[in-house]
């Protein structure tokens, strides 16, 4: 999987070599370049697969203006790790359709991968995975966030998502009365 750096040959030769390269170069919104295995990118990302198949990959770095360098680094890191782990048939099939395919628990390395991310990096990665159509990465990151919600009060859930409370006190009190069961501390 070594990158063909190009050796200053004639333009035509270079082009042929590039078509055969087994990596693609991606450029983040802030101009940083990342290389990722073409096979993994095509397998894990429907958007990249489409770009590769459609020949819209730019050798000088395919612009991904919506994705910051930190998130893109994580995407690439994930792709490379995924390429190195043995892809199980289950994983591949689960990425076909999230809506209908049963959700597969993240594997150990995937768990570790998302666990080490900062809060912001995790959320940025979710967005990046969504943008690139990376269903499996989306599953894994969403799973992580749903775990972060475990046992959390509405206040704490707001912290997880960094959002404002837009309920009035009266509304909350009304809900509390109506759905008293949800406010028991077992």
């Amino acid at each position: 999987m070594e990158v063909d750096k190009g050796k200053g040959e004639a333009e035509e030769t270079r082009k042929v070599a590039e078509a055969d390269r087994d990596t693609v170069t991606l450029k983040s919104s802030d101009g940083k370049l990342f290389e990722v295995s073409k096979e993994a990118a095509a397998r894990l990302s429907t958007v990249l697969a489409g770009m590769i198949a459609g020949g819209s990959i730019d050798d000088n770095g395919t612009d991904l203006k919506q994705i910051g360098s930190e998130a893109l680094e994580n995407v690439v890191d994930y792709c490379n790790k995924h390429a190195n782990s043995i892809p199980s048939a289950a994983l591949i099939s689960s990425s076909i359709s999230f809506n209908t395919a049963p959700f597969k628990e993240p594997e150990e390395w995937e768990r570790k991968f998302v666990d080490r991310l900062s809060h912001d990096a995790l959320f940025d990665l979710v967005e990046a995975a969504n943008f690139l159509g990376m269903e499996r990465l989306l599953d894994v990151t969403c799973h992580k966030i749903s775990e972060m919600m475990k046992g959390k009060s509405p206040d704490q859930i707001r912290e997880v998502f960094n959002i404002k409370n837009d309920y009035t006190k009266e509304e909350l009190e009304e809900i509390r009365q109506e759905l008293a069961w949800a406010f028991y501390d077992d």
């Binding site: 999230f98 809506n99 209908t100 049963p102 959700f103 959320f123 979710v126 967005e127 969504n130 989306l138 599953d139 969403c142 799973h143 966030i145 749903s146 919600m149 475990k150 046992g151 959390k152 009060s153 509405p154 859930i157 707001r158 998502f161 960094n162 959002i163 404002k164 409370n165 837009d166 309920y167 009035t168 006190k169 509304e171 909350l172 009304e174 809900i175 009365q177 109506e178 759905l179 008293a180 069961w181 949800a182 406010f183 028991y184 077992d186």
Partner: protein, 435 residues
């Protein structure tokens, strides 16, 4: 754990549909909720929110749904808490798309959140008893866990049919009993008008079911919608069926038939199978069939089982009628299925035998077990773990279980047992109640 909410009068049902759904519509924009108008002087400027907080979530709706769909269904409070984080979440979670996705995602093993027990203290209480899930109790509680002086008769499609006990001897004061339909999800209690010929009723049984055209509804979240109550009454010389529709808020007498030789088994819960309701007769030799489409009542013989105890009508996995019983020695739970297309009319086959000792701890079998409950809308193999003998160390009295989820999937469980003395402190080995 204890519910300290005062009873909402039956004439004042909750006007608000399930939970947060009703909220958020009238909220004024731009109000700063971090201030309390009561504590601050009127002139005080609102305290600004911390700047980094977003008023709308960073992630798009479909991703939020991806996340929420992974919240475990056995603890519905989690979904609710997410909904209480902000109105945007509430709208997502309450939305039809999300709910159907959530059900789809969790369709394999819907949890049983609890059941209803008819306890005998204070002349009768219908109590919701949460089941044990993992280490703790399932979080779902109806707005009112106890219905004092009520008895649960039936539960289906997210509604429960209760009778209000007005006399000291509930069985003897039928003319004064009042039927009430309770929606445990919303807490709404709807009192039905008295039957037109109520004073003539000698024996009866009744069932509640979704009121929308039967075939069209999957009964997954129809519980706030219209319902039907079918009341079969044995009177002095004939049998009547009364059908109540919540659309018209009125009863109609829809059919009559000659009396069978036996009387209705009043504490044995009926079952809905295909398009008919079935009620057991007292001797357990015949079942009454009430065809919902034609309103015709007929009788069906049940097999004689010299070694069987009381039987419990149930809906089988394929939608047909069946019943469960426990063998004489209390070893096995047996599921029998009715075969409509039997060459000699109706036949019954023993479809499944479940060894109780394999599924229950020995102490559960110390007192003689009986089949008391079954969960409706349960599919596939979930059945095998089912009701068994559930409770009954000291509890007697009918038992109705109604697992409910916030998405409204009625996973009803129901039951029966002739009343005796004891009650309270039901030791029902919750962990075995899981489906």
């Amino acid at each position: 754990m204890e519910d300290d909410f005062s009873f909402q009068g039956v004439n004042q049902p909750f006007q608000l549909p399930p939970g947060f759904l009703s909220l958020g519509v009238g909220a004024a924009g731009g109000v700063d909720y971090s201030t309390s108008p009561i504590l601050l002087p009127m002139a005080a400027p609102p305290i600004p929110m911390a700047p980094p907080l977003r008023s709308s979530p960073q992630l798009p709706d479909e991703i939020l749904e991806d996340i929420f769909v992974l919240l475990p269904p056995d603890d519905p409070a989690r979904l609710l808490w997410a909904a209480l984080a902000c109105k945007c979440f509430a709208r997502l979670i309450a939305g039809r798309d999300f709910r159907s996705r959530y059900r789809q995602h969790n369709s394999r093993e819907p949890p049983m959140l609890g059941f209803l027990a008819n306890l005998i203290d204070n002349a009768g209480i219908t109590r919701f008893i949460p089941t044990t899930i993992g280490g703790g109790h399932s979080s779902f509680r109806p707005a009112l866990a106890d219905h004092d002086r009520y008895r649960a008769h039936d539960a289906r499609h997210g509604r429960v049919l209760l009778t209000q006990i007005t006399g000291l001897l509930p069985g003897k004061s039928k003319d004064a009993d009042v039927l009430v339909v309770w929606n445990p999800t919303t807490g709404e209690l709807q009192r039905l008008p008295l039957l037109p010929r109520r004073r003539h009723v000698l024996y009866w049984n009744a069932a509640v079911l979704c009121g929308s055209a039967t075939a069209a509804c999957d009964h997954i979240d129809c519980h706030p919608g219209p319902f039907t109550v079918v009341f079969i009454s044995m009177e002095a010389y004939a049998m009547f069926s009364y059908v109540y529709s919540s659309n018209t808020h009125a009863w109609s007498v829809t059919s009559l038939a000659d009396l069978p030789d036996d009387i209705l088994h009043e504490s044995s819960r009926g079952a809905l199978a295909r398009n008919a309701l079935y009620f057991m007769l007292r001797d357990e030799t015949y079942v009454l069939k009430y065809d919902l489409a034609t309103s015709i009542i007929s009788q069906i013989a049940v097999p004689q089982r010299p070694d069987g105890r009381s039987l419990l009508l149930m809906t089988m996995e394929d939608g047909g009628l069946g019943f469960a019983d426990v063998d004489f020695f209390g070893h096995d739970l047996r599921l029998w299925a009715m075969e409509d297309d039997h060459p000699e009319g109706v036949g019954w086959i023993l479809r499944t035998v479940i060894s109780l000792s394999e599924h229950l701890p020995p102490r559960a079998l110390r007192s003689s077990p009986d089949a008391v409950a079954f969960a409706e809308n349960v599919v596939d193999t979930s059945f095998t773990q089912l009701p068994d003998d559930i409770l009954h160390e000291r509890s007697r009295g009918a038992l109705v279980a109604i697992p409910q989820r916030p998405d409204g999937r009625p996973l009803l469980l129901m039951t029966m047992e002739e009343g005796g003395l004891g009650f309270a402190d039901v030791d029902f080995f919750g962990h075995n109640l899981r489906l």
